[in-house]
Symmetry: C2
Subunit: 123 residues, 2 copies
DNA sequence: ACGCTGTTTAGAAATCCGTCAAGCTAGAGG
DNA sequence: CCTCTAGCTTGACGGATTTCTAAACAGCGT
């Protein structure tokens, strides 16, 4: 809703070009927070590495109970990072490319002042 | 130390190309977690948007006590996102471009499967 | 010695993580 | 239609982290 619109507004000025104001920070921080758990980060990468994936495949990849995985998926969903859709018996998850791209753009340091002194360190 | 070496090893395969294994996820997640707080995200962006900045300038930008800011800076420091250096009376903070770039590379979705269906949404 | 700057410690309140139990939806079988 | 089962989500609860305030501490310059 309005949340989506605001997220779009926060898109896509790199963090290093101009400091985030409080409103935008409050909007983007939950996304980073959602990625701040190892399990959720792995879930996110599993979802992002394929067009879509079934919850059953996600659950079987961890030594965690179903409800726990479901909880983590809910966090990712509420952060706007993934979408879910029920098709028949199974629920399928899919990444939200626009949210993903927004985070990537925020972390684009290439235009930041500090980048000049340290270009190419991540070869 | 060894932590730095492992962080370098996790660099820079995008999350959307291949799913992170548990070890790499455990290594990178703390960085995202550190950015998962609005105050820390703003601190990070303030630090990243200039070559370096004094703690006094950071503290004065928030309605938070000194110790609280210091605590958040410590989290960013221990996550490897920033460096601090004392010069005379004041302490100066500076971004770690390599860590920053690593996170940006992880979120590079351009090579991911889902990117094809949604190119250019972040215009 | 004194003041200024920034960090650390200690403690209370709030939040988060994982499991158990119960609820809901969709398909299969009678 | 009804029931049964499977797949996933939700609610509730103990235990561990996190977050803030206040007070004590350490480094630097005068």
């Amino acid at each position: 809703m309005s949340k989506q619109a605001l997220q779009a507004a926060a898109c896509c000025t790199p963090i290093g070009v101009r400091a985030l104001d409080a409103d935008r920070a409050a909007l983007v921080a939950p996304m980073f927070k959602a990625l701040g758990d190892p399990v959720r980060l792995r879930l996110m990468s599993m979802i992002a590495s394929v067009p879509e994936i079934c919850v059953c495949d996600l659950t079987s990849a961890f030594d965690l109970s179903g409800p726990t995985i479901s909880h983590h998926l809910k966090v990712l969903r509420e952060a706007g990072l993934v979408d879910s859709e029920r098709r028949g018996t199974w629920v399928w998850y899919r990444v939200r490319p626009e949210a993903f791209r927004q985070l990537g753009a925020l972390l684009d340091i290439s235009a930041a002042p500090a980048a000049k002194a340290d270009a190419g360190a991540c070869a």
